[in-house]
């Protein structure tokens, strides 16, 4: 449970010339989801994003929505997920990704405290805008939890600067306008958004939304510091890939990224 801290861990990897691979899975989406987390770590993930299922995930495409439905039907709550995460023994940091209402409902301080308690050192809340994040930001900092912010292709440079200044852990560069989901091609917007933010921050920049396979992961990490892989993994898990299948998929990404690097 005393896992490495998110930002420290990622900065170190990047500083050593490495590229970051951050897989995403949904807490409670299957009986063996904890085993999967473990397997992902062993397969070469630099950090793992844990989705806490929410009833109304407006930033997510059909695959992750489906995983949320499954997880909720299995009775997953934020607290049940965190309690289970606490049991893991990992040497990489964990980041929770969810929607703001779950946190607001639990209470900022309480929730931030719980994250810290269970060894989660980062948090991504896509619907908590820069404008509205002060209260949560304070609670998170106080608990030592990094709040990862998003920059989108539509974000202006001025706004991107403010976001970079407030983001902790890493900067999540949204790889195209749209919700999470696999795509056949990497959008031209990836290069644009990475070029926009690189001059603005020393944080590691990870590209998410749309990274679907080893080639794309390699392509994206050629531009940025890392890749977040969500739907492509979650779909495999929904199809029954299990911890081994997940591990071998992530290992293939790891391999492609490191080959290129």
């Amino acid at each position: 449970m005393s896992r490495p801290h998110l930002e420290t861990h990622l900065r170190a990897k990047v500083a050593s010339g490495g590229k970051l691979l951050v897989p995403y899975l949904m807490a409670g989406q299957s009986d063996d989801w904890l085993d999967t987390v473990q397997a992902l770590a062993e397969a070469g993930a630099d950090a793992i994003e844990i989705g806490l299922p929410f009833s109304d995930p407006i930033m997510d495409g059909p695959v992750i929505q489906q995983a949320a439905v499954v997880a909720l039907e299995r009775g997953t709550t934020p607290e049940s997920a965190l309690r289970e995460l606490a049991t893991l023994d990992l040497d990489i940091p964990l980041v929770v990704m969810t929607y703001y209402n779950l946190i607001f409902r639990a209470g900022h301080d309480r929730f931030a405290g719980r994250l810290a308690e269970v060894g989660v050192s980062g948090c991504i809340l896509p619907d908590l805008s820069l404008e509205e994040m002060d209260d949560w930001g304070r609670a998170a900092s106080a608990a030592g939890v990094d709040t990862v912010l998003l920059v989108a292709p539509s974000t202006s440079v001025e706004r991107a600067q403010m976001i970079c200044d407030r983001s902790r852990g890493f900067l999540y560069a949204v790889g195209r306008m749209g919700v999470t989901g696999e795509r056949a091609e990497i959008s031209h917007q990836v290069a644009e958004v990475v070029e926009k933010v690189k001059p603005l921050t020393t944080l590691p920049v990870c590209v998410g939304v749309g990274v679907s396979n080893p080639a794309q992961a390699a392509q994206v990490t050629g531009l940025a510091d890392g890749a977040v892989v969500g739907s492509a993994l979650v779909r495999r898990l929904l199809e029954g890939a299990g911890p081994e299948g997940a591990a071998s998929f992530i290992a293939s990404l790891r391999h492609a990224i490191d080959q290129r690097g």
């Binding site: 009833s55 930033m59 409902r105 639990a106 619907d127 805008s129 404008e131 989108a152 539509s154 749209g178």
Partner: protein, 397 residues
Amino acid sequence: MTAPTQSMGNPSSEGWFGDFGGRFVPEPLMPACLELEAAFTDAWADPAFHAEFESVLSSFGGRPTPVSECLRLSEELGIRLLLKREDLAHTGSHKINNVIGQALLTKRMGKTKMIAETGAGQHGVASATAAALLGLECTVYMGEVDTKRQALNVFRMELLGAKVHPVTSGSRTLKDAVNEAMRTWVAEVDDTHYCLGSVMGPHPFPWMVREFQSILGREARGQCEKILGDVPDYVVACVGGGSNAAGIFSGFANSRAQLIGVEALGGAAIASGIPGVLHGMMSQLLQDEAGQINEAHSISAGLDYPGIGPEHAHLAATGRATYATAGDDEVLDALQRLSRTEGIIPALEPAHALAWIINEAGRAIPTGSTVLLNMSGRGDKDVAQVREILQAKGLYQ
């Protein structure tokens, strides 16, 4: 032009009405919200935009709608009951005011497409209508469950040239249609405006939609003063998202009139009293312990929404407006009673407001009071459903 609504107050620069509102959207949408806010602020300060808005609403939308006095029901209830007749507006409800405003704004922003969410179809039909009028492409997101329940409204929208996109996520109803519209907006924000149907969602929607609906409150204020020589003692409106209520309240907020919003018993966000964030706004929401959103359930599709516009949460918090509820059975009774006594078949939504008035006349509403009810829409859309329910209860064969 916006002066009469100032008394309900504009939101803060970040879109807050007291503790409610704000802008809780993914970063890809923030620039669109900011752009929209700027465009609306600019348009709303432009007399030419007001003139165009008002001209389309009068030459096409049927404004002003009259205020009718209920002679027979008033006598039965011992009050003086007036109806603001939004049921006579084009497409059958107040929804047209908002969509005309947003469609004009879409053009002004140089966008060519509009998307909208809809539950039973009222806002979808209105959006498709405004889009047809102005030559905009229109796609309406509608829960798959609702597309089946309301197949005729799907056909109406398609007749009007809109595409209807069945939403298969979540509970496949209104709430999920909003989610899906927002997701689409994220992807298509360049040339697409999201025409939200009520005073909800992220800033500037709650403010903008209220302003577009304020025309009905302004009209009603003038009409009441002509008929009553005064404002009414009570102004009553049903509340789903809250747009018709916000529109009429805005005309009377700076007066002595008591403002009453009536929610469906099974969708009573204010009564639930739990704040939270959904669809880009902080407001009162139906939700469970963990913060998962509950579905609303009532006889009326237009009130089946687990949230409420943030300004209503604020009006409730400050006490300027009071919120009550009405249950399905009394709503059915109210619908039948108004039909029989006044020759107006109300939509199920405003029948909620009427049910409260009928219940409280001579109780919370003292005998002799003057009461203005916002007749937000006509019942034609509901008669098939009402007939089925009465048949199932053995009250009609």
